[in-house]
Symmetry: none
Subunit: 401 residues, 2 copies
């Protein structure tokens, strides 16, 4: 079944759906043989799991470790392979850059090269945000845009920026220029398909100019390009599901993804408590809520098992505040696994609770990876989670006579 | 994997397959926290489950609530999305109308309109079958068929009938004419695609004539059209699987579906006991048997939890009679869930037992939704059930060298 079958069956109503997403939730056993989620004391999540239905979600497919882009597309019911979103677009969305369908978006890493042009630091000593902004302005003011395109530089953070080429006939089939090792020349932006020859010429010119403009910089005297992505418009959650969606997320990338899918974006917050406060405050104004908790993933990426346990316990302690709102459907899951043991994203499926009055109970009594295996949702491609949620919110009509 | 892969591997033999289908079998917990199936005393089904293999079937897909048409297509191994069958064909098949590939079949609801043509009763006061037949005859005798097509009226039941337009170049992309609310004019049969403009003109003419012919009727003085469906032939169970199939089903729609798939149709019966009697009587003459029990679904649709429990118990008490025939494969399941709690079809997966000497046992000891989660068949798209059954009947050869 294709996930878009549900789009043809949508019937709007007033029922509310809350997605509480602990980024990188899934884990692996630590020294005591229990995962982060199994180690955490989570009485509220356990009670919710016991009363409702659990399962394990595969974000993209068996054995596939997803980036944050595909994982979130999958969460919202967008086939993550068909809609594989380029890094450039994620970066552009993350800084709220107003993209158009004439834009080629490219991730810049500022780098340091020596007098022979060999890369000596692929991150330009992680220059600070202020230097980043100054350099982007310098480039913007001095660049001469070639061949009837516009060239736009936008700072992101530290050594990262976005390059936008705006014009007709641009293509994303271009070789990345980061040589990946020190002591090498940056690679040329070679066209990887005939359709990209004009783009290659434009980029080669922009890179050459950038090297000249930045020649007097002590650290960021070159730019490396990757993540070429032509912007295209995605159908919004409202267009697909008739859901008025609010994203409560503080990190730019997740705000960006939510924006690409037409969600309203709440003001960024510092803490999970503040995110829940926004949920309460805005509860009457929307019917779908995406609450994004970043710290589970960050602690996992740090390899900080105990830190990840603590974040999960903190979310558990706040769960009653969400339940008190009595959403018709409450989903608790992650976008992918980030086991502290691997200090990075992994391919392991992600535990999920789907709570709704129409759940047919299973025998799961604890919210943990090894319990969820026995859950009534089974092991399910993540891209079907949204359809399940819409069904339990009674927002889908019958298929066929 | 596409369900049609099995077609290429079929090797006929003498082994028999029995599908015992309790329509709408799957349920939701009642006041005691147990589903209808969990509440029912089912010693025979439990023993069968314990000795064999269980699972949960998704009729169409995660979160999708199926109509009876797609659900049964899926049971018999036909992709229910690719073969989404129109209401008109289901109605035509249900009354055993001899359809041809030149036919556009349309469901009629007779309705009452006032002197201004506004709909005052969308079901014409549910006229009786006799009135329905009389009105269809009246239409048939007085209609002047336009533009080289034939126009055929066939009564179904109460206010329901079938309109057949037979000719070349007809299309089903036509707007339904039921305004869905009282006090409104019927909608025009607008073409929804350029290919349907001729059909629009033909239908507009037929509707206008029908209004004139029925003008003196007190109740059924207009017809509303929906479920436009061009007949197309489906490959039969014999063509696909080399199965001589007998359908033992009393309700017209299920008899109709079985007929569309080339099954022989046994005479209708009043009781489940009579259905089993036919099975015994015809056991030597066929190698696939579709036994359809309607009452589980009817009680579910009524919201009658206890009534549905009783039907399941009755089926359980008759199970030994089927087992005594020693079919090589016995499948017990439903076509979809109809929880009494929802008084209608639902998206929840359906419990299944597959019994055969070649089953690899699982740990399930009771036939219930929450036990079947742990069954060896896992959670499986229903359209693969037929392939599983053919395999256990040793009717599939090895794939590949």
């Amino acid at each position: 079944m294709h996930p878009e079958l549900v789009d043809t069956l949508v019937i709007p109503n007033e029922n509310k759906i809350v997605f509480l997403i602990m980024d990188g939730l899934g884990g692996l056993p630590g020294p005591e043989g229990q995962t982060e989620l199994e180690t955490a004391a989570t009485p509220n999540l356990d009670a919710l799991a016991k009363k409702n239905i659990c399962g394990l979600l595969d974000p993209v497919g068996y054995g596939i470790t997803p980036g944050s882009g595909p994982a979130h597309f999958s969460l919202f019911g967008y086939d993550p392979v068909k809609n594989n979103i380029g890094r450039g677009i994620l970066e552009g969305a993350g800084i709220d850059f107003p993209m158009t369908e004439r834009d080629l978006l490219i991730r810049i890493n500022f780098a340091t090269v020596d007098k022979d042009g060999l890369v000596t630091d692929r991150r330009a000593g992680r220059i600070d945000n202020e230097t980043n902004r100054r350099i982007c302005w310098k480039l913007q003011e001095n660049i001469r845009a070639p061949e009837a395109v516009e060239v736009i530089f936008q700072p992101v953070k530290e050594h990262r920026a976005v390059l936008v080429i705006r014009g007709e006939g641009l293509a994303e089939e271009i070789q990345e220029t980061d040589p990946q090792r020190l002591g090498k020349l940056p690679l040329p932006p070679l066209a990887l398909a005939p359709v990209a020859t004009v783009t290659e010429r434009i980029l080669a010119g922009v890179i050459k100019q950038a090297g000249e403009i930045l020649a007097d910089e002590p650290k960021a005297n070159m730019m490396l390009l990757r993540g070429y992505a032509k912007y295209r418009r995605y159908p919004s959650l409202y267009e697909r599901y008739r859901l008025n969606a609010l994203a409560i997320a503080s990190y730019p990338m997740y705000r960006g993804i939510a924006r690409l899918l037409g969600m309203t974006i709440a003001a960024p917050t510092e803490t999970i408590e503040e995110e829940i406060a926004i949920l309460k405050q805005e509860y009457q104004n929307y019917d779908f809520f995406f609450i994004h908790v970043k710290a589970t993933d960050s602690r996992g990426e740090d390899g900080d098992f105990d830190g990840k346990v603590k974040v999960i316990e903190q979310v558990d302690s706040l769960l009653p505040d969400i339940i008190a709102l009595r959403p018709e459907v409450l989903v608790v899951t992650g976008d992918h696994s980030t086991p502290a043991a691997l200090a990075g994203h992994s391919w392991h499926p992600v535990p999920v609770i789907l709570a709704a009055p129409t759940c047919r109970p299973d025998l799961v009594a604890y919210f943990s990876e090894r319990d969820c295996i026995h859950g009534g949702l089974g092991r399910m491609p993540m891209m079907y989670l949204m359809g399940q949620s819409l069904a339990h919110a009674r927002r889908l009509e019958k298929f066929g006579a």
